[in-house]
Symmetry: C2
Subunit: 307 residues, 2 copies
């Protein structure tokens, strides 16, 4: 029977999540709060962490605390380095940033990853890597493409147990900026659209063109509203389909199956667009964050031998 | 010797411009103010117009007033129709919207243009058409590509004296939304950049890729700052080069020369990007708005015979 062995913390920009985990992956307790790093004032991260996990430490004694996410960014608590791709669990575990926190013990901060394709600017990731490490361990195939949709979507190439590279798309953030701060939002209305707008956007993305063409295609969100070719409550869906469709059309390779990790809503949205574009997909495991933290902790010698 | 024959008004979203013109193109007086339609409250357009041009009417008697620009949009004074491309001065002059304004006389509102490429959403233009009509009249070649950079850049195909089609790119507005309302603005600083950032952005655009690739390339604005590969005051330039370069790379056809109409600053920016991309360019005439209004007025029978 396992006992609590690790406190795994996934601390992002908008959310804080912590898991009390056994070495075998059992989750004894978990906490979630909106205390993302942007909500923490004056660098009071230690206080937030104590507030969330002190009860577990009182009950079970001092445990290693593993943290990943934007908490390790320049805007976070302590800046953790980036590990260069290709990277696997061992290279990640070799670059943990460790520091002591009063009332908690030792915190082990997971590094981010960077990827520098030849002749291209660098790309970076911080937060998805722990989840990916966990999902890689559960893979049966040697190769896979993981998609982490969101504010900054990540397309991750996995091969032979390592992350060989990845590409970031600013899809979610661009959607928000265009909807909230350009003329495209003016004709939009929230509502319960009858449907069709999203797939019409994906279809526009399928027609594609060169990169700059997107700057033109966006304008159709306005003209379709202006000419009443789409109802006002379908326009946000059309914009979403256009951007997500463009992301998938630019990334997916013929014949591959992508594995999507995301909330129910985003996963369904990406899956629907992938289907319309002829890209096969499945859904990634939802518990891989804890599995990833445990694998990194074990590789770093924090958990002893396998149970 | 010519006398004042027309009041030509170019009334856009942010600016109001009026010209007192003779039938031969001579400009006797002009006024410019920041009283664009967005600054006019409660639809008080008549009052603004009277404030700007009443002195001219007192001095020279009632004259036809020709207006173009967003003043004819749904957010403007009176909504003017769109004329379908291909369109020339006669089809535009046949669709003037006319109404009486107390203390002014008859106002003739120039229609917008729309263009519906087969299988594509419609595109629209409102404001550039008067300037284009004037520039077409000054053309020596039968064919030309006019570029009107700005919030919504227009690429206009001209052939045999008519506007045969056009494509809108939301380049300027997307730049503003990304800079002001996404993470890309966080690492930016205004300053006097040493130079190089703009052309580095154009070069990134030249590498191109499919439409969705732009959503990835944008992220390099962040990573180049994060890794200190570009100084903070070059990042706005890099973003500008990336977007303008993407627009030009998506639009320009091999071997053609584009004619750019814009402010000094925007024209130089587009010209620099065009050169870097191997696209020949020249600058359009700066006085074509008045020429366009006069041509439309003449075609509508408002000026009598040619002088």
């Amino acid at each position: 029977m396992s006992t609590p062995s690790l406190i795994a913390v996934d601390w992002g920009t908008t959310n804080f999540r912590a898991y009390l985990a056994g070495a075998d992956g059992k989750v004894f307790a978990q906490r979630e709060s909106p205390k993302g790093i942007l909500s923490v004032e004056n660098g009071a991260f230690a206080g937030v962490l104590r507030g969330e996990v002190t009860a577990w430490i009182r009950a079970h004694g001092t445990l290693p605390v593993m943290m990943s996410g934007m908490i390790g960014s320049r805007q976070g608590w302590v800046e953790a380095p980036y590990v260069r791709c290709p990277a696997g669990v061992r290279s990640i575990a070799a670059e943990l940033t460790e520091f002591e926190v009063e009332g908690i013990g030792t915190v082990h901060l997971v590094p981010g990853l960077d990827h520098v394709p030849p002749g291209e600017p660098p790309d970076v990731m911080r937060g998805e890597e722990a989840q990916i490490v966990g999902a890689i361990a559960a893979l049966t195939a040697r190769e896979a493409t993981f998609v982490h949709p969101g504010t900054h979507s990540k397309w991750v190439a996995v091969s032979g147990g390592a992350i060989t590279g990845f590409t970031t798309y600013m899809t979610g953030e661009v959607y928000g900026a265009l909807r909230g701060h350009t003329i495209l939002g003016r004709l939009m209305r929230d509502g319960a659209p009858a449907g069709g707008g999203f797939l019409q956007g994906v279809e526009a993305a399928r027609r594609g063109g060169p990169a700059g063409r997107l700057l033109h295609q966006l304008f159709s969100v306005r003209t379709l509203g202006l000419f009443e070719l789409l109802p006002a409550d379908e326009l946000p869906e059309y914009l979403s389909g256009l951007l997500i469709g463009a992301e998938i059309a630019a990334s997916a390779r013929a014949g591959e199956t992508i594995t999507i990790f995301g909330s129910d809503e985003l996963t369904m949205r990406y899956g629907k667009a992938a289907e319309a574009l002829g890209v096969a997909w499945n859904r990634g495991p939802s518990d891989s964050v804890v599995a990833g933290h445990l694998l990194i902790a074990r590789a770093a010698g924090l958990l002893g031998a396998a149970p």
